[in-house]
């Protein structure tokens, strides 16, 4: 197999203007409930921007500077927004059965993003440099040690800082990007068949498990 040809085919498909800059959307994908995913992604953008400013100034900044403290506030409120909208988005897609029609991987990547978002936020709480950081570090160590995860040394602020500002956001950003790519490629899950509709070639779940 020619690797270059394979990548050309895949990338041409994935990075087309039609995938990333759609000019129209299906009739059922409108309204506030269809803004929750975008609000989550937007919160991530604000988190990254405020986080980059904070990282550029070092981990003492928000404990000694009023501007640093203000940025920590922006970072704090945007992480609240991130989880708030993420959970609402999760509820919306769950109640929509959004994995139907071959969208299982889209769901999987979304839940994986939530899974990675938790330690990403947790390592951030350890960066506050206050009692909360001290207390959560010593409280979390026992569970992590017990599960054989002692490498993840919550008492080592240097390691936690590296994980929080580079490793975990990179993984999270990648997962969110793949999640969005799949949403764009697979389309937004359609409603369950309406009353009286005979879905041609689809089962009642919307083709998810046709033939099962």
């Amino acid at each position: 197999m020619n690797w270059t040809d394979y990548l050309r085919g895949k990338m041409g498909q994935l990075f087309s203007v039609d995938v990333w800059l759609p000019r129209d959307l299906p009739e059922y994908a409108f309204g506030v409930l269809y803004t929750l995913g975008s609000l989550t992604a937007s919160s991530f953008v604000v988190l990254v921007v405020s986080g980059v400013v904070m990282a550029a100034n070092g981990p003492q900044w928000w404990t000694v500077s009023a501007i640093g403290f203000f940025f920590r506030g922006i970072h704090f409120w945007s992480v609240q927004a991130f989880f708030f909208f993420m959970i609402l988005h999760l509820l919306r897609v769950f109640f929509s059965g959004a994995w139907r029609g071959g969208r299982e991987r889209t769901w999987l990547l979304g839940t994986l993003s939530l899974l990675i978002a938790v330690p990403t936020a947790f390592t951030g709480y350890l960066m506050r440099g206050d009692f909360y950081s001290q207390w959560n570090a010593v409280q979390a160590k026992d569970g992590l040690n017990a599960l054989g995860l002692a490498w993840f040394n919550v008492l080592n602020a240097g390691q936690m800082y590296g994980l929080h500002v580079v490793v975990l956001p990179l993984i999270l950003g990648l997962l969110i990007m793949l999640h969005i790519i799949l949403i764009r490629v697979k389309g937004v899950v359609p409603p369950y068949p309406s009353r009286g509709e005979t879905p041609v070639g689809l089962d009642e779940e919307g083709a998810h498990d046709a033939g099962s």
Binding site: L21, P22, R23, L25, P26, E27, Y28, S38, A41, S42, V45, V46, F70, G73, H75, F76, W77, A81, R92, F95, S96, G97, W99, G101, E104, W107, L108, T111, A121, R128, S133, Q134, W135, N136, V138, D142, G143, N145, A146, L147, G148, A150, W151, N153, N156, G158, G187, P190, P191, Y192, P193, R195, G196, E197, V200, E204, E205, G206, A207, H208
Partner: protein, 318 residues
Amino acid sequence: MPDPKIDFTHRYKYVPSDFIKHLATTTLVIAVLAVALSAAFREPVRPALKISTVATQNPVLFEKVAMGDLNGTGQIATYGPPYNGGTGSVQSPMQRIVGVIHPVNPKVDFILKPLRMAASLNPSVGAALRVWDAAPAARQQVWASRYQAALAHARTVNGRVVVPHGAYGPVPMMMQGLLELGRSGLMTGALDRSPADYQFDNMNALLFLQGAPLHNAASRLELLGNQWGIIHEENAPYPGPWWMTIVTAIYQIPFISHASSGDAMALAIGMLLFLILMFAPWIPGINRLPHHLGVYRLIWKDYYRDHDQPKPSAEASP
């Protein structure tokens, strides 16, 4: 039959929209919201607990913690992997398999090493250490155990810890030296793990404080595990990390909160619940649950209003 290569969302009507304007708007909304909330409400801060504060405000507690470390009876001295060879806090075979990857010897690292540093500033500490070093291990153990027991009856007089008269060898002098080091604020530096005085790792300072000092402070703020501690944000009206609610809730189950391997159980149950959520599309029953619950009819209310046919007969409904 529809072409299987064409996604079936193409069966639906498409409506013009401005995707980029939509994304720019949501990002602007969040940015403005975060800036406004930070300006209006700032964010929660809880002053850190310093070793110097403990040494100043509660010298007896400070010495009790230090004696646990010196005598090998403290929580960290007996902890086990990943810190040392103890067994006191080993909750699972995985913990043992990982082994000692962050070695800590509280007696040396938390007490004797800082004291040797203090000795260069305080000659009486140096004299006490020389007596300690010259004594056989059994005698050291006797002195330490006697002094540890005596601390149960200790009082603080003019900032000094006073215990009932007894044969404690150099231990009271060592503890007084350590207490002064703690009060000075220099002990945190003495607990540095970096061989190059270039500090990134505050593990030893946190492990020194992790028992009663941090627990007492957390208890006052209602932050203990059985007080839904991890998701609390002090008494201020700030949201905490409420996304940890499920794991924190598991800690409230008496069976788990009282188990010696409670931490491992709570995290493992939390992970199991998460795996169910993650693999919901493949789990029979759960993958059809949204259809049965019918909340989707509210989500797509407008769509069904336009597309539902009147109910002429039962067989037409899905």
